[in-house]
């Protein structure tokens, strides 16, 4: 039940990462193993300055429409929370990964992933995160998180993920 609590909390705090109110399987697994006792963030929540908190509560990813790289209101809300968290953790660096779904050609999708990662970077910088703390990398369609070949899976794969490697408290 701990995982459920975490997902509900994520939906409340960050408007939830996924449009269909689910996180991908690997993120869920990470949450299950990475939440020790939730001593700082309330019942069942990881410490607010932890990577786990950023990933699961703030929300580490935003989503895009097909062939698009503009940030909708939901994505902007998530990124505003990301920026707030990053600004509160001045020692943390982040890499923004841009991804595309499998319904495009490989090289175009690489370029599209770069556009998406850059959109996120620009938004975070505009929210006060120093650009020197942010890297971007595109994976095109090479690293899907949802493996189906259906609109729901593709929507989850058209994403930019802000990867926070570590925090001072680890």
């Amino acid at each position: 039940m701990k995982i459920w609590g975490l997902l509900v909390a994520a939906a409340l705090v960050a408007g939830c990462a996924g449009k269909d109110d689910t996180l991908d399987a690997s993120a869920t697994a990470d949450a299950a193993t990475a939440v020790p006792g939730g001593t700082f963030g309330g019942p069942g929540l990881p410490p607010p300055d932890s990577v786990e908190y950023f990933n699961q509560v703030v929300g580490d990813r935003v989503f895009f429409d097909t062939d698009r790289y503009n940030l909708d209101a939901e994505a902007q809300a998530t990124l505003t929370e990301q920026a707030r968290w990053l600004n509160a953790q001045p020692a943390v660096r982040a890499t923004i990964e841009g991804h595309a779904d499998e319904r495009g050609t490989r090289e175009y999708n690489l370029a599209l992933g770069a556009r998406r990662a850059n959109s996120v970077r620009d938004y975070l910088v505009a929210q006060g995160v120093p650009p020197g703390r942010l890297d971007t990398v595109s994976y095109g369609k090479e690293r899907p998180v949802a493996l189906g070949s259906d609109p729901q899976s593709w929507a989850q794969n058209r994403r930019a993920v802000t990867v926070v490697l570590s925090t001072p408290l680890g």
Partner: protein, 444 residues
């Protein structure tokens, strides 16, 4: 005795010489048998390949394998109907005498090939063969190849190329290789590896460690391969020397570099650099490593490919709102859109003949491989599936290879080949999953 009718041409591995005829008159330059392969009406040419005679007991198995490879090459082209040896009336055909043409006409063989395998005094293998027109009762060609036994497959491919070229008028392509991406692991965590094989799938070898690598491209001199790799964290363009194994990062750019392709003379590459999320086309001189910008706009400009004369570049761009094909001068300048059908277009590759551009087209939720003239006219789609992508031309501009991915969690990528007319769609067998094929030039 066989004697060369002119001085032999020394190639890197193979000695090629014209054989004297055995009696039947050699045909004039324009073969009466030559088939027209461009038109809509087409019938594969029925051909009989007599088992090549082994002149020593130790050469029997080699001769049988060699004949098999010749047959498979010709059959795989889709332009030949190879008559099974079990149907032969006269069993085989002696290499040193004129064939009984009536026996071969009886089984409807329009063409007949006879051959012989010998071992030279230096231990190398010598293969001799003759191509006959059974209706005209004429010898069309007689050739011999000499090479180390280890290169027996190349002798077979050269033999098949000679038969193919003599009878179809098309350029050769069987003695060529394909660089590709070997894929293992699950769909969510594919492990990719640069690999190389003969065009018929034989002799697969791996060219590097496992990782995330994409889109190899062969150099026009057959010696190196360009590719894109995440080895240094973000996608950058690398070059790999196939003989020394030496690899070098060509791209060292703050964003990423990708989609490289050689110029026809091998002196330059066209590729994309992404800066601040924006991808434009650049060229790099391989001698000086100087980089010059070719396009400058907020659109995605990528997948550049030179015309065979080096004067123009075809590329894809979404500057008009959707992904479409454009042609511009090789040094940059005004780009003209050439794709105007419905759907979107990507991965353009100029044919080595110069007449056509092959591409990936996305239309109605399906992916297609297609070709159009370089001015955008005469668009034809050659394939259709959930995901067909990334065409590469055989060196003769007659055959295309691409990759096909099936849908779903268990989706698999495999290599496919198709004739430029859309006929003869075939799976190219590989040990694991495979994608991003890149055809080499014909070897010499």
């Amino acid at each position: 005795m066989m004697t060369s009718t002119y001085a032999p041409v020394w190639l890197r591995l193979l000695l090629v010489a014209l054989l004297a005829t055995v009696g039947a008159g050699r045909a004039a330059a324009q073969s009466p048998l030559e088939i027209t392969v461009a038109g809509g009406q087409f019938k594969p040419i029925p051909i009989a390949i007599a088992s090549f005679e082994a002149t020593g007991p130790d050469l029997g198995p080699l001769s049988a394998r060699l004949t098999d490879v010749v047959e498979r090459d010709l059959e795989s082209s889709g332009l030949f109907d190879v008559i099974p040896r079990s149907a032969f009336v006269s069993g085989s055909a002696p290499f040193a005498s004129v064939p009984q043409f009536a026996d071969w006409r009886t089984i409807n063989a329009d063409a007949l090939v006879t051959g012989r395998v010998q071992r030279g005094p230096d231990g190398r293998v010598q293969v001799q063969f003759r191509i006959y027109d059974t209706a005209a009762e004429q010898e069309l060609e007689g050739l011999q190849f000499l090479a180390p036994e280890a290169d027996w497959r190349r002798i077979a491919h050269k033999t098949a190329d000679a038969i193919y070229t003599e009878l179809t008028g098309e350029g050769p392509y069987f003695d060529s290789r394909v660089a590709f991406i070997d894929e293992t692991g699950s769909k969510g965590n594919r492990v990719k590896r640069l690999a190389l094989m003969d065009q018929d799938g034989a002799n697969v070898r791996y060219l590097g460690p496992e990782g995330l690598v994409l889109t190899p491209r062969f150099s026009p001199d057959d010696r190196s391969v360009l590719y894109t790799s995440w080895d240094t964290g973000s996608p950058q363009v690398f070059t790999l020397d196939l003989e020394t194994g030496q690899r070098e990062r060509l791209g060292n750019f703050p964003g990423m570099s990708f989609a490289p392709r050689f110029s026809p003379d091998g002196s330059r590459i066209v590729f994309s650099i992404t800066e601040g999320g924006n991808s434009d086309l650049y060229e790099m001189s391989l001698a000086t490593r100087s980089v010059r910008r070719l396009t400058n706009n907020p659109a995605i400009d990528t997948s550049g490919s030179y015309s065979p004369d080096g004067s123009r570049i075809v590329f894809e761009s979404d500057r008009g709102g959707t992904q479409q094909l454009y042609v511009m001068p090789a040094g940059g300048g005004e780009a003209r859109r050439i794709s105007f059908g419905s759907g979107t277009y990507g991965t353009p590759v100029w044919s080595p003949r110069g007449d056509l551009v092959a591409f990936t087209k996305i239309l109605g939720g399906r992916f297609h491989i297609g070709v159009m003239r370089a001015d955008g006219s005469d668009e034809r789609l050659l394939s259709s599936s959930f995901l067909d992508e990334g065409p590469t031309w055989a060196p003769n501009g007659r055959v295309l290879m691409f990759f096909r991915q099936s849908p779903g969690q268990a989706g698999r990528s495999q290599l496919m080949s198709v004739d430029v007319t859309g006929r003869n769609l075939q799976v190219v067998e590989t040990p694991n999953l495979a994608s991003d094929p890149a055809w080499s030039p014909v070897r010499n």
